[in-house]
Amino acid sequence: MTNNATMHEHDVIVVGGGGAGLRAAIAAEEEGADVAIVTKLHPVRSHTGAAEGGINAALRDGDDPTDHAYDTMKGSDYLGDAPAIETLCETSPEETIQLEHWGMPFSREEDGRVSQRPFGGLSFPRTTYAGAETGHHLLHTMYEQVVKRGVTVYDEFYVMDLAVTDHPDPEERECHGCIAYNIKSGDLVGFEADGVILATGGDGQAFDHTTNAVANTGDGLAMAYRAGVPVEDPEFVQFHPTTLPSTGVLISEGVRGEGGILYNSEGERFLFERGYANNDGELASRDVVARAELTEVNEGRGVNDEYVDLDMRHLGEERIVDRLENILHLAEDFEGVDGLEEPMPVKPGQHYHMGGIETDENGETCVSGLYAAGECACVSVHGSNRLGGNALPELIVFGARAGYDAAGRDLGEARIDTGPSARSETETDLDTPVSPGALDGAEPDAVADGGALATDAEAVVEDALERQRERVETLLERDGINHAEIRSDLQDAMTQFVNVFREKEGLQQALEAIRDCRERYQNVAVADPSRTFNTDLLHTIETRNLIDVAETITLGALARDEFRGAHWRKEHQERKDDEWLKHTMVSWNGGDPDIFYTDVILEGEEKTYEPKVRSY
């Protein structure tokens, strides 16, 4: 390297400072590794902090991890992999108690033990919580432990790409680090590491109405995708049933867990009265409740033709303030509604991506040295629908496993196979109106698209650094259009066509809109000439990632002609287990996306999960 200041070396690099990233870093540090967190936000700004409801963990008498696993498999609509689900449910109790031992301020019972409450789709009230701000406390508690351990944090460093070898077969590729942009100084920095853990969170900014933060732009997913790692089950996107109509701010499922009731404009408790969920009503699985709400609105029974009412007044002020105080603040600040006095307006909004970077239960991808954990990853525990309260345990369980594995601890051989070699069949007749993937003659992507085959780790990082330097220079120096309209059009198209209700024609229109965004993106430039805190540059690069993310979601949605979990298709109103008990994989394949399938693993340690009709 000509300038030493632009290269750093660590054993393990964690990209992202939210729940999964912090837990991974603590684990790697415990294992004796020199670990550093590289994150575009300061860790306490991460969107884990917005999680409200809680952490599912079988802690109490009468509950058992096998029940948690059964609920999770049912919630997944039998698209979760048993080894991942069982690992989650068996490990969640110890990881949750670990947080308590680190001082996390959980809500408490009279006897001083941590509180648990009912949540949708659960057979036991096992959602462990800290008010309606569980994620905030989890995030801060783990950041405190990172400070205690002296883990290096490069905050406000935006990772632009991975440094991966150029082997034609993704399974032969090795990840040797990543390239980051120091937001404050404008310097590009190469990070060389033996293991890179992507923990970049969600990608809700691909949609217009979302509970996700502005920073949730799917950077890790897009980088891994372009590096050759398949994106698993991308079509499965969770739309949370209770978000505020004007902003998309989340109203926790905890409101319904505590007894909150949903009404349509006719004052009907429609989940029961209209037969959507005769047993569980408001506490049916999220996909069921979201569809019920939109059906009510579409059939003319929405309030103001837009939303339904969530009423918690009958719970009484004392209980609301004790367990859901944060909800009162959110409803007041972001919708101008006093939840103690009137019902809160709610409608479905994009909330969580079940799909993501394909990993095994140790967090490793098919590219050697590259890991992923948390929302950006797909192990898969959530399958086609995530249960409320299962995202936070995923962060801590699989964040820790990725951290241990990357730092060298032997977690045993994974049961889940990854990469193109796990393929059981290939999609051959997908009817797309435009070709997805790279444009002809487009600027080359960083990884696996030509360039000499670098031999050693340092050279791989240097090559990647040089490519990103050129990319930044080009964006800063040329004339062009601003990315903001492209991003906004992409979000509109996704919310219009790839939402709760999907049909073939709409999905094809979405692919055309995405293609149009990709073409216009060839002309983007960054108007801000400054090297100091250039968020124009940052957002422009994020928009490219969103285009790739949106395309994988839409391709998967078009390919899967069945109705399973969160994925509803107008033309295909039934779950087709004979054809579709399989994971979708979308692989970048050097710019010419390859769609293939792998088998779902329903064989657990002790039993096989038999797909059943899913009713609540």
Partner: protein, 304 residues
């Protein structure tokens, strides 16, 4: 993301026709998709027209007066205020208005933001002379009734400006981390047994644990402005959070009191309540500082 503002859809057709014609005639450096200079100019002008139309069509607009500074850009080296006219929509926050201005007028307008729901603490700003979170401040609330004509937005006072509305947070983070802001008791129960904590004790620390590290309190504090080494309200609140947590043993409590009792600790606070007033999470910061002063006195009396 939705800001509650719809962009007018007219002119789309004429624009794409113009672009199509220019594209057919022009040359392209990056394959068929790359536009030439004329097309780029046409596209950028069309964007500007759409922004102007949105402003003209709006029932109300609001004028943002925004502080601008960039040490690297000659015309911004000297701090100045720029004006942006933004179409007002019901429910619009100061952050929404800033994002609209950035996305429609000047992409170099720089500010931190992420969650949009007052939990990430990124967007503490000085709005109309007071420290507030941009995302939690309704534009309409800045006027006595209706829509304010003008909103003045500046970076947090008493912090070094990096660029526009972005301030250097390093000093704030250093102070936060200087109070050993982590649970230290190693004597935790085995296995799946949790430490017990009474509801009363959890209630006692509850407000202190809500801090989102936005820095509004530190910026509002006159003492912190005059004494750079003063721990400041947020860090002292963090110390309170642990010192009052019954799960940490007494030895640790004493250790924590020693930290906050130092020369630049709790005794510098002159109970002006400015921190409490600006805290977006309603944390009774001044009360927490006073409580620690009392604990420190009790501890010192013990040795007499």
């Amino acid at each position: 993301m939705s800001t509650g503002i719809t962009r007018p859809e007219e002119e789309e057709e004429t624009e794409s026709q113009a672009v199509g014609a220019a594209r057919a005639a022009g040359e392209s450096a990056y394959g068929q998709a790359r536009m030439n200079e004329t097309e780029i100019d046409a596209a950028n002008e069309a964007s500007q027209r759409r922004a102007r139309r949105a402003v003209e069509d709006a029932d109300h607009t609001v004028e943002l007066k925004v502080f601008r500074y960039d040490p690297e850009v000659p015309e911004k080296e000297k701090p100045r205020f720029d004006s942006f006219t933004v179409p007002f929509a019901k429910g619009m926050t100061v952050l929404d208005a800033l994002m609209w201005a950035r996305d429609h007028y000047d992409s170099s307008l720089t500010f931190r933001h992420s969650c949009r729901q007052a939990v990430c603490g990124s967007d503490a700003l000085f709005v109309d002379g007071k420290q507030r979170l941009g995302c939690k401040t309704q534009v309409a609330d800045l006027a006595d009734d209706g829509v304010p004509g003008e909103v003045r937005i500046e970076p947090l006072p008493h912090a070094e400006v990096v660029k526009d509305l972005v301030v250097d947070m390093e000093h704030f983070y250093d102070q936060m981390e200087s109070v050993e802001p982590y649970f230290q008791d190693e004597d935790t129960p085995d296995g799946l047994n949790e430490q017990r904590q009474s509801r009363e004790n959890r209630e006692k620390i509850k407000m202190s644990t809500r801090c989102i590290w936005c820095g509004a309190c530190m910026s509002s504090c006159n003492i912190a402005a005059g004494d750079n080494e003063y721990l400041g309200p947020a860090a002292i609140n963090k110390a309170y959070r642990f010192a009052m947590d019954e799960r940490e043993g007494e030895d640790l409590t004493e250790h924590r009191l020693n930290i906050i009792e130092q020369e630049h600790g709790v005794w510098r606070c002159q109970t002006q309540f400015s921190c409490t007033e600006v805290c977006p999470k309603d944390i009774p910061l001044t009360e927490h500082i006073q409580a620690l002063k009392r604990e420190a006195v009790k501890k010192n009396l013990k040795f007499w």
